[in-house]
Amino acid sequence: MIFGAILAGGVGSRMNIADVPKQFLPLGNKPIVIHTLEKFMLCTSFDKVYVGVHPSWISHMEDLIDKYINSKAEKVCIVPGGEDRNSTIFNIVKSIEEDYGENEEDIIVTHDAVRPFVTLRIINDNIDAALKYGACDTVIPATDTIVESKNGISITNIPIRSHMYQGQTPQSFKIAKLKKAYYDLSDEEKDILTDACNILVKRKMYVHLVMGDAANMKITTVNDYKVAQAMVGGMAID
């Protein structure tokens, strides 16, 4: 089976706009998370789409689903988010296994709620790659030269730009493969490895690249939000 996992567990705004987590801010005529969820709902490959939400915001998310996703609400399941990104993913994995049991071939497509510009092409390419290779990460080629500095004062290394990519989401996995890698980590490693693909990489597992899109931006800062509003022709809110 194939499952969507939208990660909307954050509570921080960092937007100086309202005390609302950024995934719930309006973009055009709907909250950001709804745009993201709607795109996932159109992907017929998903048996169910799980949304990981901070416990304090679950009822708010339920209201939004009632309001905007009404006709397909049975395909959505809200799961309490965890303390960090990976624990939210594993709360969703736990919920999947409670609902459907453990299956070696099951796929999970994890995606940031605050990337509403994801396309069906990216989602479908993720599903195909996860089925074929067991794990994949969505990336775009780096356009700026990447400069590494371990002390924040001087350059340690400048990697070859053509070898560099910027990570986006979705990140997709065979659930069994992800679990195997994650439960093999020490608590210390779990604290450091916040990126799910990195967990597999550190365990020398193959992770395939899926081409993302420059527009598949993560809305994190006020500036990102203004850019996103401008992209859809909406009003910028200061």
Binding site: H35, K39, L42, P116, T119, V232, G233
Partner: protein, 337 residues
């Protein structure tokens, strides 16, 4: 949700417009296969007048497309159903005037965004379901429906002496019209008059083909379809007037950018009827889908279809438009954007 619209903003320049998609009372379709029309190519190359380019752009190109329903707020279609999309839109209902000639009609990919989008939202009456048609063939349904529309009007207007029907032109439109006439006017002899012997050789199913420069002196037709357009319109129409029998009906389908002089004295003396045909409407699409259910017709049309590699990036859009220039008939491609 947010939709990606791939707009032509100036000749050979594509830009992405992001839009919040309206789904209320709409059918949402994921485009799967597209076909390039000459009209798209003229916009892409910037071959329309500067005034027209300024009026129409930016817009997404392509009006020949099939896809899959992914959501329907009206519950008219089921998710997963394969459909073709009607690019003509009119809000008036009229029992006399066809929808494609309505004064308020507009056309997607002519001043309004065509189908080069991630998702297309349409009213349910702009969507026609199909089954058992290969997707590259289904992609040209709109093109077939234009032929259906012309033949439907011909059938209503032309007198019953239809022994010989002549088609001027040896391109895709002539091929479609010839294929459809063989299906719909089975008692008629179908003759194609063209300029290119290699292209004429594709018309193996018609009764006769002639090179326009070598028409026999006793050549005659009862009715004619002009499928030439462009600079060749003058010569084709002039030939038709010369060789057509009295009271014949001439169906004009070829698009000309410039005014074409025609010899009205002979039109008057022969009592000819000229009927202009452009685009098509829902009933034409439905008839086209019905006809395309015939595997023999599908096989015939497949010989004029060149399937290019899938389009997965804006670079690929440029690639297919460039490749289309060297394709004598129709270019189709899978849409993966």
């Amino acid at each position: 949700m947010i939709n990606y619209v791939y707009q032509l903003v100036s000749p050979k320049l594509i830009s992405v417009k992001h839009e919040v998609l309206d789904t209320k009372e709409m059918v949402l379709i994921r485009p799967e296969y597209m076909s390039i029309c000459q009209a798209d190519q003229r916009y892409y190359q910037g071959m329309r007048s500067g005034k027209v380019m300024k009026e129409k752009l930016p817009m997404a190109l392509i009006h020949e497309c099939c896809g899959t329903v992914v959501f329907d707020d009206t519950n008219t279609f089921k998710e997963g159903q394969r459909v073709v999309m009607i690019p003509n839109h009119s809000s008036t209902k009229n029992d006399v005037i066809y929808e494609n000639y309505a004064k308020d009609s507009f056309f997607l990919s002519s001043g309004h965004d065509g189908f080069m989008r991630e998702l297309v939202n349409l009213l349910p009456d702009r969507v026609v379901q199909f089954e058992n048609i290969e997707l590259p063939i289904a992609a040209i349904t709109e093109f077939v429906s234009v032929g259906v529309h012309a033949i439907t009007r011909f059938d209503l207007a032309a007198h019953s002496n239809r022994g010989i029907i002549g088609i001027w032109g040896d391109g895709s439109l002539a091929y479609i019209v010839a294929s459809l006439l063989k299906e719909l006017q089975t008692e008629s002899e179908i003759i194609v008059v063209g300029k290119n012997i290699n292209k004429l050789s594709h018309f193996s199913f018609v009764d006769k083909t002639y090179l326009a420069d070598y028409l026999p002196s006793d050549f005659e037709v009862d009715h004619a379809f002009e499928c030439v357009g462009g600079e060749g319109s003058y010569f084709a129409i002039d030939d038709i007037i010369r060789y057509i029998n009295p009271q014949g009906t001439v169906m004009l389908l070829g698009v000309s950018e410039n005014k074409v002089p025609i010899y009205t004295r002979d039109i008057l003396e022969k009592g000819l009827s000229f009927i202009g045909c452009s685009r098509s409407g829902r009933t034409d699409f439905q008839k086209a889908v019905e006809l395309l259910g015939n595997k023999k017709l599908q096989n015939r049309l497949s010989t004029i279809i060149f399937e290019d590699k899938p389009v997965s990036s804006i670079t690929d859009i440029h690639r297919v438009f460039q490749a289309d220039l060297s394709i004598p008939f129709k270019t189709v491609f899978r849409w993966n954007l």
